[in-house]
Amino acid sequence: MMEAKSFQLFPEAASTIAGSVDGLYAFLVLVSAFFSLLIAFLVVFFAYKYRHRPGVAFKPEPVDDHSAGGMLLEIVWTGIPLGLSMIMFVWGVSIYFSEARPPANSMEVYVTGKQWMWKIQHMEGAREINELHIPVGRNVKLTMTSEDVIHDFFIPAFRTKADVLPGKYTTEWFQATKVGQYHIFCAEYCGTKHSGMIGTVYVMSQADYNTWLGAGSGEGSMAEQGQALFNQLGCGNCHSNAVNLNGRCPNLNGLYGSKVDLKDGGSVKADEAYIRESVLYPQSKIVAGFDDYMPTFKGLITEDGMLKLIEYVKSLGAKNGSINSATSAPVQTGDSPQSKAKPQGKPMAAPVAAAPAGNR
């Protein structure tokens, strides 16, 4: 917990990954302490034992470090550190891979960084600033982008962070293990109020979380908001979900997660980055069988809005059904062959949490 501890040597561990990070840390502390003390002991011991004695003639023994003994020493003190460091390498990689890859059943939350605040959107439509409410014991995947410079979403109690980049989506995931409040820090220097770009994760019981989500304001789910934006921007005039109007634009049903064949012969996986690129830079990847017809929507849509559009496209069905099955709130478009039933509990928006008050 973050409140009122004036002195601590070790941070709170509140995620499933924290224990394994702490384990590797402990191993490295032990190895480092051993070698630091060994070197310190040798240096102090030799400095005393072989100290210069005034009046006593010093006769150096002829040095032959190419002798068998010398070579053996060099091999030993090259080999042991090499072996130990390979253990550290493998251990570090294995933790990294579990940190870097969100489990398939994660609930999704969207994060937009901006000088100097964190904007958070939940699938169900709840929005908050500098606060993140999540349920305990569930895998949470953050999909993050920045409106301006590079930020970094860091939760020390969860032992994880990831850079938040403009023009790109990065992900971060965790499963909280303890109900409580924990710091969010921006860890990549981002300008004047970098140290004010902090917030709080509220880890709640599932019941409390449901209550929190339920106190909604009725803006609709992210996908519903995305659909509104979709209509407002006139996307549906070409990307009709009913039929391929006159074959001008690809159908978006079942697009997310599928492999898209391109006009130039290549192919691309339809992920968040591809959808974003296709809206902002439609010329860069033309779908096979279509022409360079779509205008750019650069400047007409915010990063937050883009995330809503992506969520809408996802709600039109995904090739890989597991991607957002846990929490998605698909919109009943009536024509989506793969649209799933709404999850229990009406998707609702929670009130936007505190304004960026902590942003000093």
Binding site: M2, S6, Q8, L9, S20, L24, Y25, L28, V31, S32, F35, S36, I39, A40, V43, F46, A47, Y50, R51, H52, A57, F58, P60, E61, V63, D65, G70, E74, W77, T78, P81, L82, S85, M86, M88, G92, V93, I95, Y96, E99, A100, V149, I150, F154, A157, K161, A162, D163, L165, P166, G167, K168, F185, E188, Y189, G191, K193, H194, S195, R360
Partner: protein, 547 residues
Amino acid sequence: MITATATEKETKNYLNAEHGLKSWLLTQDHKRIAILYLIAVSVFFMVGGLMAVLIRLELATPAGDLLDSNTYNKVFTMHGVVMIFFFLIPSIPAILGNFLLPLMIGAKDLAFPRINLLSWYVYMLGGLFGVFVLITGGVDTGWTFYTPFSTTYSNGYVVMTAMAAFINGFSSILTGLNFIVTVHRMRAPGLTWFRLPLFVWAHYATSVIMILGTPVIAVTLFLLMLERGLHIGFFDPAYGGDPVLFQHLFWFYSHPAVYIMILPSMGVVSEVISTFCSKKPFGYTFIAFSSLAIAVFGFLVWGHHLYVSSQSAYAGMVFSILSYIVAIPSAVKVFNWAATMYKGNVRLETPMLYALGFIGLFTIGGLTGLFLAAMGLDVHLTDTYFVVAHFHYVMVGGAVMGYLAGLHFWWPKMFGRMYPQAWSKIAAGLTFVGFNLTFFPQFILGYLGMPRRYHVYPPEFQVFNVLSSAGASILGLGFLIPGIYFFWSLKNGEPAGPNPWGATGLEWQTASPPPTENFPITPVVTAEAYDYTEILSANAKEVTHVG
């Protein structure tokens, strides 16, 4: 400059060979150019140190009560820029390397004396740009200049600061070029490669990094200036660029630059430990080749700065394993230094105290690098105070302790005078204690999660910050005292004589201070390096493997 005392006969040396400002500003003598660098680098060290004082004062309390956020950001940026580009990188090579390299190989000067003088003027020009930025309002990008913050969003003189570092880079390149040619072409007769002092090996390896790495940072900073000034898109996605590309280019130089700072220190420490143990360094060839190994592998590890920057996990794995491999030669050196003391004639004179301090602090600095190379752990640690503590252990605990060891070791050679031994030992002790008190708490702060570059921080981090600030005041004293007694010694120190420490290198076989031409007769080398038998038997008389 220095005049001889009444008891001493006036002998011509490089200091009194000519007089007047012009004789210094237009000199081509590598020793005088080294003194010019010493003065300029010391001034920059004081500027950077003043910034550090402001940082530690501000961080003594969690609130931002001394400086406002913009000023704080400018202060830590200038601290980094000045200390890295204008102090650490030139300190040992341009001062001690410049002074000693020709002396150590029995040459009269570097291969290109005019280029050597040019390098100082280029350095000063870069420095003037830096000073201009400092006076006119500063810059708030951090010394890393990350895009698109630096190119699009920063307040302050980004282009001028980048220009300062850009120009300064050419001074590094010129120095590196000069050293490489000098070592290849100008060794005294009989001075084969494996008779070279380890200081020379270390500077050779450093020079290779300087001439291969520095052009990359020059190009990178140039692209940065183009994007900032002319909005040509390389790094900002708003112009179609890639912000992570900048990080790759930046660290391709800036990681090897760490070895530019630390390798010369390792060279100094090898000399000092050998001398004060009266023993050839254990594993001479291993130490020599480990310098080259570090220079080569140091170029292949830059991606370990980018584990959380959206870099591919597989690329990260390659960088991680190479980072572990580059750590091995450093470990080999530390073990060899310790082994050199075994059955040695250990004298704890001031340079030796600094060198032993170096071993302790560099060991901790190196070992904590292993934490940051471990991918899964680095995700938690990167961009926290753990990183700040780690690189200060390497750069201050390593590079600066080595620099001070070298300055105390060769000061009698450079100026012909001794400094007060008691004071210098006190200063060495204060530096070691103050350093640890300043930076060790920052490891704990980092693991607790305190991000770096935070002007304001949550109150639970205050205890360790107060410890750190307290340590910094001791460390500051440790740096101040040598400044005073070095200055004092110029006129008042005991005459040193040619070889006050009983050392073996060629530089100790000429007068202190050396004559302009270094050696009256070109020496001929007939023995291995670090052969102490004659020195020990002749008890510090002039030695004879000089023909």
